[in-house]
């Protein structure tokens, strides 16, 4: 065989050896420096999407799928027919991160109904009309359109004694309220006949007023 052909084969040999070594070494390095993200959605038909700050979004599976990623914080979503659930997950090297996306819910503008209320029904025990409970929820939503949870401590509810000699149908209640983990002292003035309503929120440290819903005049009642 000519020396030229021998040289070509030798060159191919070197290239193949180098390529093979590179394939194996790069695979080892990748496995040591990346992590696996495994996502499961309750909806087996939901498209699983991964994205990151200042990065494109990518569909990597449906229902249940895994993906290898560089370490970092990622946003994952499960999306199907207009409904979507998202979460932030962290990927670590040499580690498999499992994430379960809860049942999908429609993502829409916040609403009064979308807020979680705990303890508000306690006001009914003090004779407050249920219509005023709706006004309280509206006032809180007016305070912040971004709220997710409201918690009233039933033990903190303190009605102002009503003057029996007065013809006024207005009552006042002091209480402590937590809005998205932030605590406030609150005063609520309302008409027992379901008319006017007004909510004040105060900072518990400084007693400074942080919110005044303004007087509302609502016809009707219970």
């Amino acid at each position: 065989m000519s020396s030229r052909l021998r040289g070509i084969i030798l060159g191919l040999f070197i290239i193949c050896i180098a390529t093979s070594a590179w394939l194996v070494v790069s695979a080892i390095v990748t496995s040591q420096t990346t992590g696996i993200l495994r996502v499961t959605s309750s909806d087996s038909h939901a498209s699983l999407i991964v994205s990151q700050d200042n990065r494109q979004a990518l569909v990597f599976g449906a229902g249940h799928a895994s993906i290898r990623l560089k370490p970092g914080s990622y946003q994952i979503s499960a999306s199907n027919t207009g409904k979507q659930t998202s979460a932030i997950v962290a990927v670590y090297k040499k580690h498999t991160t499992n994430s379960y996306l809860k049942p999908l819910q429609s993502v829409s503008l916040p609403s009064v109904e979308g807020v979680s209320y705990v303890g508000l029904d306690s006001f009914l025990n003090y004779g407050m009309p249920s219509s005023q409970l709706d006004n309280l929820k509206q006032a809180l939503f007016q305070f912040s359109k971004s709220i997710h949870s409201v918690v009233v401590n039933p033990d903190s509810i303190s009605p102002t004694p009503h003057d029996r000699n007065s013809a006024s149908t207005m009552s006042s209640i002091n209480f402590k309220i937590t809005v998205d983990s932030i605590s406030y002292n609150a005063v609520m003035n309302y008409d027992n006949l379901g008319g006017g309503f007004r909510l004040y929120l105060y900072d518990p440290q400084s007693n400074g007023q942080v919110f005044d819903s303004g007087a509302t005049s609502v016809p009707g009642g219970d």
Binding site: L23, Q56, A57
Partner: protein, 136 residues
């Protein structure tokens, strides 16, 4: 070296290459590294809302399928109004995003106008901005 030896060596090299590829597949567990391409802020949050109904496996890509023209943040970046344009016709639309549990989600849009009643469900400064742009 005769032809038979040359063939044997070439065959060995091919087997070596195939074995290396197989080894890579085994080492990585069949999952190769996925890198997300660079994109403007919020592109990843917006793309699913711009996807057409039939495209379940692909999402529009910023810079290729759509372009983010403008982003306005409100209320400590809890809300964002984003103006996007479709490539190549450059038809524009607006989306409203809200930060929920640390993640921006599209709560309104994409659209060119929205019902005035939606103003009640967003902060007043966001509503005022959308009104000033003729979107509400």
């Amino acid at each position: 070296m005769n032809a038979k030896q040359a063939f044997t060596r070439i065959l060995f090299l091919l087997i070596l290459l195939v074995a290396s590829l197989f080894a890579k597949h085994v080492i990585l567990g069949g999952m190769y590294l996925t890198s997300l391409k660079a994109a403007p802020p919020l592109a990843g949050s917006i793309a699913p809302s711009l996807a057409s109904a039939g495209s379940k496996n692909t999402l529009p890509q910023a810079g290729k399928d759509f372009k983010i023209l403008k982003v306005n943040y409100f209320d400590n970046q809890q809300w964002a109004v984003v103006l996007v344009a479709h490539i190549p016709d450059m038809n524009s639309a607006t989306l409203l995003l809200q930060k929920l549990n640390g993640v921006y989600a599209v709560v309104l849009g994409p659209g060119t106008t929205f019902p005035a009643s939606t103003a009640q469900s967003m902060p007043s400064d966001v509503a005022a901005y959308l009104m000033s742009k003729g979107l509400l």
